[in-house]
Amino acid sequence: MSLEDYRRDIEGCSRCSSCKWVPYNQIKSWRFSKNCPSIYRHNFHTYSGSGRMVIGLSLMEGRAELDETVAEMIFRCQLCGACDSACKTYRDDIDISEVLLELRSYCVESGELLVEHMAVIDSLKREGNSLGELKTARGDWARGLDVKDVNSETCDVLFHAGCRYSYDPDARETVRGDIQLLRSAGLDIGVAGVEEACCGGRAYELGYRGEASNYADDVLNRVKSSGAGTLVTACSDCYSHFQYIYPKIGKELPVEVLHVSQVMDRLIDNGRLDFKHELPLSVTYHDPCHLGRKGEPFTGVWTGDKLDRPMSLKRSGRKGIYDAPRNLLYAMPGVELVEMERIREYAWCCGAGGGVLEAFPDFSASTTVERIEEALATGAEALVTACPWCLRVFKDAVDQTSADLEVYDLADLALISAGVAQPASV
């Protein structure tokens, strides 16, 4: 697909600005009614979903030229998908998110690259991760765990940790706990350890499609060779890429793909997991974009007029993973869930996605602070999320702003409530 393939989507925009707002029926206050971090920060219409689509049209028609400034406009966006989801509340024939991805690819193919993104891609190429860490340390997180190595054994469930969980010292314990919990529930689990590499999704989002494809091949091969019937990941980013980008680029994984929260939810349902430890805590839950609206599976390609596209092929963001994480919180004794105003497919982004954290840290941070403020407005003691990227930026923002708010990975609370981990950290 190319930008030109989305011309009709772009020309279909009426400029109603719905891409800038929480779906109107869900606006509950003046304060938390906006949905797009990019235009919230930069204000020009250009920085909205609609505005970026117009950039595409302008470029296609030769009215504007792609230059460094335009590229920056395109990349100052977390690709959080809120614009797409909001637009699709009312429209069936416009895929803003696809246009945003095409714009990035257009930039990369045209040589308009961001230095910070090139560093990410270099890291991917050299070390197989997006964080600039050493490949040799990739499997350190699983050291000492009693878990299968899929490089030499087969298993039922392949656990993919992802870059952030593999390397971030604040997150490693979480995936270790995940393994313990899933194993204690009787699952036959394997990990790739040092051989695990980035899923490649980040490369796709930055516009580097060749790299993305290579990493998809890598994962696909590993899944096949592992003999697993299920791929479980703790990372929301990876989850989204497995569910959406892989099939979109023809690399669909031949297994069931689950986020760890879905697995735990199922285990509770069938009685193999029990949350018995009291956690007296009021929490609010942040829907990670990649688990929520961007976690909606690929629905297929429709080449006809999108006005006639079957609803089953319209990817609206509403079929993302919203209930499983909440079910876990509901199941934890003592935990009280207080919702923020912007939730589910109209949740506000954490600020980390789309290469923004790497290229525009100030913009990323301001987006994060906005979410922290929303969480604080609920009166909850803790902000819980299910994505290591969200977790990282939330923790950093709370540290920097001294906000009176704890930040937890959902899995950590699950581990404590299930008795797998000690409650000392809560």
């Binding site: 009426s14 400029r15 109107y24 204000n43 020009f44 250009t46 049209l57 335009v70």
Partner: protein
Amino acid sequence: MISDEAYKELEEAVGVDNVSRHPAVLDSYAFQPFENHESMPWCPRPVAVALPSTTQEVSEVIKACNRHNLKHKAFSTGWGLWCGPTTDDVVQIDLRRMNRIVEIDEKNMFAVIEPYVCGAQLQAEAMKVGLNTHIIGAGPNCSPLASATSMHGVGHDSIYMSYSARNVLGLEWVMPTGEVTRLGAPGSGKGWFCGDGPGPSLRGTMRGYTGALGGMGVFTRVALKLYNWPGPPEIESTGTVVDVMSEVPDCLRIFGCFFPDKDRLADAYYDIGEAEIGYNCLKVATPAFMMILAPHLFKKLKGTENLRRLLGGTLGQMFLIILAGISREDLDHQVDVLKAIVDEHLGFVLDAKNIPTLGSNLAMNFIRATMPALVFRIGGSFSTALGRNDSLDTQLAWGEAIAEIKRGYAKKEMIIDDMGDNPYFVPYENNTWAHCEVVYPYDHRSEKHLAGSSAINMDFIINAIESCMEPMFGVVPSARKVLSPLTSNFNRWQRKLSEALDPDQTSDKGFYTDEAEFDFTNVPPERVERLQKLVEDLTWTELGPPE
């Protein structure tokens, strides 16, 4: 092009981060497809875009424009062709950063707001103190300030909450000269409780039936009437639009009222008005509901003649009404009255209470006016035949006449067949007057539809003149040129006022006083002749219109 010097002054006015002349940014403002019947969705590209955050900054932007012989054009939420420049020397003022609800005066029932507050935001905040705001039919994404000062202003709450133009209680206005003035009581420093006086009301220069659409300076604050809301501080709901499910507040009852024919429906409207009941009321053809809620199903079914007869005919004469009571006794009384009226006029009521999912869906969608945006679903765009608000009878007749015109175009597939007249008919102020516009969906990406839309618009204008109506789409320069001589020469006077208050004509006047020739390319010759004959017959002399 804008000179470096002028651009620098804009930067000084609003800060370097809040002004741009990059072609890509400018194009995102030149993109105005809605109600743009040209083959491409562009309007003239502004020479720069400025984003002021205060009234003072607006003033400084305008003064800078004036110093450099540039025009200015402001918008609030910016939806529609009229928001963009109409000439090549315009600085676009995007008021997005002026987004504050300055005050909600609960006791005296008004809010003071800035341009980029949208209807949904204001409603959400007003409801917290037991008040509600008029939301226009275009939807809760629109700016109540822009609607009240600069545009039209009809909504399906108009039965209880009037018309935007009549809801103004005070105004802050940066004149085209850059000077800041306030109208009414706030202009005298007395508070935001009255927009008229002392003496003659300058509100009359702010707008009339329509607004100046950015052609007369910039409105930076407005006090708007709020209305009683007997419901909870928030309507609990899940879902977004089509699937929204709300906790219907106990104080509300929702009814569909169906009548055997238009006359009985009209009689019922009049009686409901005199009974002074109703909080939200909208006549919508039943096919329109199906079209926006299930467009694919609609497409499959619309060839079915029996269904067409059922929806467009048997069930076509209906309105939806929400009753709101301040107590159970009050609500019960209103229900009694409604049922008696409908019964008397041989109609029947569909009580949403008996179809809980329907009621649950409609409550939020109607109170927040969220559904009209779904009209895009069928064809990607729509346009509308806007009549001139007056008596209920006139508006119902307008609806019928336009439906007839539409049928011809739909048959030729020059617009999308929506299987019904699809009026947006709402009564104002206890049904003492009304509004009717007839929506027609089309795909603006289709050349055939574009040709259809320009031809059908000519038929609407001709019909409006024949029906003695100044159509609301008279804001288009070509329509204005034809209509003004038949309509009190209003544009002559508008222009005089414009020249008096904007001596250098620095606001973009395209949608305010400019006139242009019609493009008759797609209009059949006999229609052109008909228009010319009407103009000949009805042009005002110095003694008024030919009687």
